[in-house]
Amino acid sequence: MSHLEELQSDLPDRETGTREKPALADLLVPVFIFVFAAVVVGLALTFDRAPAAFVGFGMQPRAFPIFLMGAVIILNLFLIRETIKNPPERREPLDGMVWITIALMGVFALVTTFADMMLALAITIFAKSLLWGERRVWVALALAILTPLTILLFFDLVLEVRFPRGLLTNIYYG
């Protein structure tokens, strides 16, 4: 237990509820970390080798990432031990709105790529506002129109930032 953990456990009303046995899902994180580290090492092994005269006594470009992943794997062993000894509290299932919000990010990326960034912002803001609980459609609509418009005007006129051309920005830029 670190000094901080000792202090934290000393604070009043701290909930420290843990389970006796880890669930299989708790071990998915260490497994994912192992796979990630293995993939990184695999990729690093494909890097070009620099000529010896160039590198001198220094490291090849692949060495440092491999060293880091070695450290990650060692730390991951400690994580597994920690997970088995002190299983984390049971997590609430992920709220559906999180997946919807992630999907909206995907919609934003698609509309930006194939249509227009400002249009994508407007659509995302409108949808997010309504889905997150705004009941007044006109408020969501006003937000969706005014936010990208203000951003476009402020960044273009004050900060001189040029946005990628698209359906709406073409009308603005001419």
Binding site: M1, S2, H3, L4, L7, Q8, L11, P12, D13, V29, I33, V40, A44, F47, A50, F54, V55, G56, F57, G58, M59, P61, P65, L68, A71, V72, L75, F78, L79, E82, R91, L94, D95, M97, V98, I100, T101, I102, M105, F108, A109, T112, L121, T124, I125, K128, S129, L130, W132, G133, E134, V139, L143, T147, I151, F155, V158, L159, E160, V161
Partner: protein, 493 residues
Amino acid sequence: MYDAIAAMGSVFLDPYLIFLVAVTTVGGVIIGALPGLGATTGAALLLSFTLTMEPIHAITVLTTIYVSATFAGSITAILINTPGTSSSAVTCLDGYPLAQRGEAGRALGVAVVSSTIGGIFSVFALAIAAPMMASVAYEFRPPEYFALTLFGLSMLATISGGGAVKNLIGGVFGVWLATIGADKSTSIERFMFGQYELYEGLDFISVMIGLFAMSELLVQAGALKNSAAVVRMKAITLPSMADYRKIWRAVLRSCGIGTFVGILPAEGATVASMIGYSEARRWSKNPEEFGKGSIEGIAGAEAANNAATGGAMVPTMVLGIPGSGTAAVILVGLLVHGLRPGPYLFTEQVDTVYAIFGAMLLANLMFLVIGLFFAKQFARVSLIPIPILWPIVFALSIIGAYALNQSMLDVWLVLIFGVIGFFMRRFGFDVAPVAIGLILGHMVETNLQNSLKIFDGAWWMILTQPLALIFIVLSAITLFGPALLARFRRRAA
């Protein structure tokens, strides 16, 4: 010396800077009062708005956000039992019970005064300690810098959040992210997947906006059903003389604790506030009041978390090692504006450095005024409906990332790291270590590479350098000390 004092004082005679600090303090207090939007997220979002500013003005904006948002987290902690920032979490323990007893004004008064004293103390500590540390840092060569960055990374084990192992994994992941792009010494491409925009590496700002702002947006998406109770407050009252007599020891103690904790690499206001609170309780004549509405508890936590802001700027500016998550964003701000953190900053750009210190001092005084007179109004900000606030944050995050390089890749990075950050947080990993690791990554690799070249590949020669050895021993103590101590105690028992 006189030049430094003059540069610090010049801030108070610059009307534009005073205006800027006033406006930014209001902005920082609003950001800090909004649950979920802390100092780090606020600074990351505002970074792109500072691009066209003079370096002093830009860094002033970021540091003002830092100090004012750190304080403002206590407003919602006291009034609605929802800490605006993680460093105000312990303030809830005593602030909210006081508010429920109808003493919200008194609690806020104690928080404002304690925060101001903590902040001002730390600015003076910064102005004194930073040049002293810089004079030592002149002696640093690659082995010392490598050992120091290693120490900075090892400190991640002690910060709050996911716990030692998870923080270290996060930190190493951040260091790995720094290897993406062309290798600095050989120009060989690493993890670029044909994206030549990644040649210079990942853009710090996009990664930070993703990790802090976008991941928080997803956290908020999963917590839409939660609501907070609002406490009515008539007015803020200054603490009485009896209150001052009761809290002054806790405030002074927390000033020292906060500044010291802030100076430690990677530590920040959250750790400082926890230790400040804990020590206030340990030394109090009425420890039984803690958790039920003790003003000493509020003073101990609030003085410590604001004292940590100045402390965190010491390693950030002197060594280029961020003292906290927000300091990491400020460090990026320094780099973007051509100010290279390190000991030479204190000889080559002494006016700029001390003007920044002066601006931090001004910001602390500014939020005293704003906090005392307008806290009630700012508390209402936290009632802005989430369906209105967070879509705007989404838009600002996207545009903030795009504006820096006008590159769509940065926008995609925000989205990708937003999702990565969310799932890290979901599985108990703090995202701040990733940000700190990313910033330290280049330093670690470059200095290790240069050390190997200096010592003809004999890495163990690093241990023969006294300063480097000290940092490596400190790293070992940080990593293994608590576990060894616990084992020793168990055996002794």
